[in-house]
């Protein structure tokens, strides 16, 4: 009976909604918030709207942008990553001890940078392995690995501050190209790489898909575990590079090089529209978030908000920015965690 029902004539083909290409409306919130906040500070402070300050903002954003690049892939999978402080600390100390420095005779130059990044990547890999093999939530594995990283860093630090004398590494923070420091360009390169990985590589797309529906990937015969591990490893490499960048900025390897970057990066990513539940957003979204957060911090100093209130006002602006950004997408029954 059902089969023979003549209802088949019914399904008039309605004009199908064409898929959105490029920027969609629901992605527009954070960029608009960025522009609004930027304009607001420009009006409030003449010092803010100078080119030097824009340079300054970009330079300041560089390290956070690299960390956020890494964390974005983890968040895209729906996992979380708190290991940035430990991994950055380990790589900062490692690179300071490997390039020309005041502690030992090493002078590995770029190779030293690579080794430091590799150490962080290995630690990232460790979080990933603990996640997939021990089935411990990433929240915990990364927290644990962060502690391990800090411990390693403290061991390497061994009581004496390593200062770098390496010309190449020191120049990253000082030399400029087209008005911006090399570090800023490194961050731009990272964002570009991150974006290409996200859009054109299997790793990136699978990370995105894992956030959307992990079980479906297994049903399609894809082994997701290696990809998860790879994502954490890649994130670790980004943090490692960020640790190296901090070392370049400070001319010294600090165990605390990554302090606070975990929550800052997550905030930036979420403000930019990457969902903590995974499956949405991406490197470009996160970059907008990084700029937004940096602009707020810089702007508050520029307009002279009391240091006592700085943190509070930052927090308020972040909440308001996110509220404004989600406003157009509010739906009943929507899950917000």
């Amino acid at each position: 009976m059902t089969l023979t029902s003549p209802a088949e004539h019914v399904d008039t083909v309605v004009a199908r909604p064409q898929p959105r290409r490029g920027v969609s409306f629901r992605d527009a919130g954070p960029p608009i918030a960025l522009v609004v906040i930027f304009l607001a500070f420009s009006v409030l402070s003449d010092d803010f709207r100078t080119f030097t300050n824009v340079q300054n903002i970009m330079d300041t954003a560089a390290v956070l942008a690299v960390v956020t690049c890494g964390i974005t892939f983890v968040l895209m999978m729906g996992s979380i990553d708190l290991s940035a402080p430990g991994l950055m600390g380990a790589s900062a100390i490692a690179v300071a001890l490997l390039v020309a420095n005041n502690r030992n005779g090493n002078d590995l130059g770029l190779l030293g940078v690579l080794v430091a990044v590799a150490i962080a990547a290995a630690l990232g890999c460790l979080s990933g392995l603990a996640l997939v093999l021990l089935k411990v939530p990433s929240f915990m594995t990364t927290l644990g690995v962060s502690a391990v990283g800090l411990g390693l860093a403290t061991l390497m630090f061994n009581g004496v501050q390593p200062n770098i004398t390496d010309k190449m590494l020191a120049s990253w923070a000082v030399e400029r190209f087209l008005g911006f420091s090399y570090l800023t360009w490194i961050a731009v390169a990272c964002i570009l790489v991150g974006w290409l990985v996200q859009r054109y590589s299997r790793l990136g797309r699978y990370a995105y898909a894992i956030g959307g529906a992990e079980e479906v990937l297994s049903l399609s015969g894809i082994r997701v575990k290696p990809y998860k591990v790879a994502v954490f490893t890649m994130a670790g490499a980004f943090y490692g590079l960020a640790g190296v960048m901090v070392t370049s900025q400070l001319s010294a390897g600090l165990v605390q090089a990554g302090r606070g970057f975990d929550f800052q990066a997550i905030t930036a990513a979420v403000v930019g529209g990457t969902l903590l539940t995974g499956g949405r957003g991406g490197v470009l979204h996160s970059t907008v978030g990084v700029l937004l957060v940096t602009v707020v911090i810089n702007g508050l100093v520029q307009i002279g908000v009391s240091p006592y209130w700085q943190g509070g006002v930052q927090g308020l602006i972040v909440v308001v920015a996110v509220a404004a950004a989600v406003l157009p997408q509010r739906r009943r029954n929507q899950v917000v965690k």
Binding site: A130, K135, G144, V148, G151, T267
Partner: protein, 332 residues
Amino acid sequence: MSTPVLATPAADVGHADKGGPTLGQRLTSFMPLIALVALLAALSIADPDFLTQRSLTAVVRTSAPLVVLAVGATLVVLCGGIDLSIAALTSLSTVFFALWLPDLGGLTTLAVIAATACIGAVQGLTHVLLRIPSFIVTLGGMSIFSAVALVISDAGPVRITDRAATEWLTLYVGGYVPMAFVVAVIVVAAIALVLRLTPIQSWITATGYSEPAARLAGTPVDLVKVAAFTVSGACAGLASVMLVSRNFSGSPTMADNLLLPAVAAIVVGGTAITGGHGSVWRSLVGALVITLLRVGLPIVGVPSAWEQILYGAIIVAAVALTLDRSKVLIIK
């Protein structure tokens, strides 16, 4: 309406009382305790002096604020959210306590708890009404509370001179059991009891596992979430009173570093960070494990750098042991 009677009888439905939780499943709920005992044993082997009554008393006394904080936040986690503001709120309320004590005297404790409960409720409302992820709301809350605490305390500790108001928390029940810990256990028991005896448990669980389904089943999802944040806030207030009783002062940054330990306690207890599965008892045990790690490792003589490495390794191992994976399908 009379309940309808259906023609087809149940053929061979075996819903007799077999098939309840198996032994294995029961065992998994004891895993946190096993982890705790194992850790204690390891520490005692490393330093036999560690296993003394005085030392254990000190551990449970120390753990009380962490237990209370973790237990409050557990409710939020069970609902599928997270509360990152607990530590900053505790710091803020230590300042409240110290500032209000001269005027309110014995009522200060209640006033502080009421105030933090309200602050928690405001965060909850912001979360459900504005649809902002709890992570962001409470992250914002964290920095706002810190700023307020700095400003109202004039960026410094506020000493309390009248210790009578918190004296009771420093007593020992039966000479051995610290009152603060007894209070913490009572809080846990009370919350656990309310959850067990009322429908709230299933509302929270449903919200945590599947919010859309819970909502469409008419569960008061928003109410439950706001309530969870309120309790979490109240617990932060209580924890602050415990800290004040220990430190004789309020300070705008006093408890700031308790955030990650509290969340770690929740997860080490085996509560799923994604929501739904877990319990406040688990967080109690988790908090004890974390406290043992925080104080035990350095006291038995592990050097600072190795202490961090061990801490990292042990919390991961503890979660590997305690998390009941049959309840959490996908580990993110």
